[in-house]
């Protein structure tokens, strides 16, 4: 393989890696893992075209805009990229979204009819909270699963949490994501900080744990519903035979459904397998 070609491949793969940091705000899962991104092309002038498609023609315009905008920002941040051009296809307002994102317009301007008050920032904030809560539920259940009692979880500091070995790859991956969001939200940074606080930064008392978890479960049930539907609808749209039906795994592997199943001591292995299968099958 010639050197320019190798470099071209390297750039393309850098873009893919970069896109893996962009999440569907509603699902808190990477757009690449969800199978939304169809194609990445790097041209001779270091312009990058990203073609993506959502599960349906009707998918929410504001989420579509958020994702396109996030893709543009993330890819533009690569030092060699001259221009990042996300292109949504087969969507009811694809044209407006593509134009709006390309011209760097705010959402309310690009799609006036879809912004009935309230900014996209508020929406982002709302979904940040959900992402936090879903990741937290996963970790609390995982800790319970390896034998931690609620009082110990409530007072656990970052140092201790960091040292817990869950002996499961998926849990380890989720742990990183939870730590990430704790840091991003400035909820815990120092080794002595509590690892489990509310989104407002308030400690959780042991007697509050049951009701706290009940609420987090509600958040997860809603997100899982979206996630299952989205993946199923996308697979149906792609006209693929649903891979899960045969294989019993989602197409991205067990990709952080965040359901906390690995932490549930009561779940039998078959239940765990079922819970990890994200696409309805």
């Amino acid at each position: 393989m010639s050197a320019p070609l190798q470099q071209h491949d390297r750039k393309t793969s850098e873009v893919w890696k970069c896109l893996a940091s962009v999440t569907d705000p509603e699902l808190d899962e990477a757009v690449t893992e969800l199978g939304f991104v169809e194609q990445v092309t790097v041209d001779d002038n270091d312009g990058v075209d990203i073609v993506f498609r959502l599960p349906t023609y009707w998918c929410s315009a504001n989420f579509a805009f958020l994702m396109a905008d996030d893709m543009r920002k993330a890819v533009s941040a690569l030092p060699w990229v001259r221009e990042a051009r996300p292109r949504l296809r087969e969507h009811m307002v694809a044209e407006q979204i593509n134009r709006g994102v390309r011209e760097g317009k705010p959402f309310g301007e690009a799609l006036r009819e879809f912004a009935p008050g309230g900014s996209l920032d508020e929406l982002r904030e709302k979904f940040q909270r959900k992402a936090f809560e879903r990741r937290q539920e996963f970790m609390i259940l995982a800790l319970r699963g390896v034998g931690y009692e609620d009082p110990a979880i409530c007072r656990m500091d970052l140092r201790t949490f960091d040292q817990v070995d869950f002996h499961a790859e998926e849990v380890a991956r989720q742990k990183v994501r939870y730590l990430q969001i704790l840091a991003e939200r400035d909820l815990a940074a120092l080794p002595g900080d509590r690892a489990f606080v509310t989104y407002e930064g308030r400690p959780i008392r042991p007697h509050e744990m049951a009701s706290h978890l009940q609420r987090l479960r509600g958040v997860r049930i809603n997100m899982e519903f979206n996630s299952a539907l989205c993946r199923g609808l996308l697979a149906a749209r792609d006209g693929e035979p649903d891979a899960d039906r045969a294989a019993g795994t989602s197409r991205g592997g067990c990709g952080g459904c965040g359901s906390g199943c690995a932490g549930q001591p009561v779940a039998s292995p078959s239940v765990i397998a079922e819970k990890h299968s994200i696409v309805p099958s």
Binding site: T56, F63, F225, N226, G232, L233, P280
Partner: protein
């Protein structure tokens, strides 16, 4: 009639069915095509493989086929057929009350035909409610709060025009208000499916029942919260139930939440025909048992009695169906077509 493995008879009212025409000949534009395509994607992604339909059959099916799928091959005793207009997408509408009533009159005692209205039509909406009551004797309506109309991207149950419609419904005895609060399927602003407006409308119209189709998913927690506060709020299981096949554990979690917050007296079975057919749904639902951990955690159970209520008794109560009398009536009428 559903006969359990132990030979027990269970009366089934399918709370959510459609008789649509989404065929290319009826499509007015790309939106019409994409709408039925999206339904078909729901069908393909959540049905068991052996239940999949070819696309053209899904786009438009005959009255005979619907009858057979629901009542001959299927376990339904009665079905509520909902009306959805979408006249901006389909030349003759998607499934208007006229089309539904025409189909229903061939099959005596089987269908309850529900109407629909759009409060943004103002006076015309009120006139239309009168028309539906006088012509078809409706007892219920199905409402889409997220439908586009001109520049509008949806409406709320609390809009003054909607309140005028509800006042009229209450006066005319149209007591069952089915509201689509679920996943996004038509061009809409997601917020138009927000469930909070149900809270106010249900408080202000105690004489009406609000059946929230799809239980507000993916806003289940909001829906549960409202249903706890309001005695006249019910949950329709369409779309939630098919998860019983591909993701039984997830379905168990959803139904546990619903049993805990909403209760077995206020949940209604619905196949969402023709997105799904009722036979496999009812069979799987009857055989379904809550996992022990969820039973303990929520202190609820999905008993045979609860299943009977959900499958038919609750809807029968809302629509004033005398179950024993209805069973006797249906027993006397042989099926009008041979089983396929």
């Amino acid at each position: 009639m559903f006969i359990t493995p132990t030979g027990e008879e269970v009366f089934v009212v399918d709370g959510h069915t459609h008789f649509w025409d989404g065929s290319p000949a009826n499509q007015l534009n790309i939106h019409g095509k994409q709408f039925i395509d999206c339904f078909y994607a729901y069908h393909s992604s959540l049905s068991p493989k052996e239940q999949l339909w070819p696309k053209d059959q899904f786009e438009k099916y005959s009255a005979e086929q619907m009858y057979r799928d629901l009542f001959v091959d299927g376990p339904d005793d009665m079905a509520i057929v909902q009306s959805t207009y979408l006249t901006e997408f389909y030349k003759n509408g998607f499934n208007t009350i006229d089309r539904n009533a025409e189909m229903a009159k061939k099959y005596k005692d089987r269908f309850i035909v529900n109407g629909a209205f759009d409060p943004r039509d103002g006076e015309k909406a009120l006139e239309y409610i009168h028309y539906m009551k006088e012509t078809f004797g409706i007892k219920g309506v199905k409402l889409y709060t997220a439908e586009w109309k001109g520049d509008s991207r949806g409406w709320k149950l609390t809009d003054p025009n909607a309140y005028r419609c509800f006042e009229l419904c209450a006066k005319l005895g149209i007591t069952n208000i089915h509201v689509h609060k679920g996943p996004t399927i038509i061009p809409l602003d997601k917020d138009a499916f927000d469930v909070h407006d149900v809270d106010h409308a249900a408080t202000d119209f105690q004489g009406l029942n609000f059946i929230i189709e799809h239980c507000g998913l993916p806003r289940l927690d909001d829906f549960c919260w409202i249903a706890v506060q309001e005695t006249n709020v019910y949950g329709g299981l369409a779309v939630a139930l098919p998860f019983i096949h591909g993701r039984p554990r997830y379905f168990a979690e959803v139904i546990s939440e619903l049993l805990f917050w909403v209760g077995e007296d206020k949940l209604l079975f619905g196949s969402d025909y023709a997105i799904w057919t009722p036979r496999w749904l009812v069979e799987k639902f009857w055989n379904f048992e809550l996992p022990e951990d969820l039973k303990q955690e929520h202190g609820v159970d999905l008993t045979p009695q609860a299943k009977k209520k959900i499958l038919g008794l609750n809807a029968a109560r809302l629509y004033g169906v005398d179950v024993e009398a209805q069973k006797a009536k249906l027993a006397k009428t042989p099926h009008v077509i041979a089983a396929g």
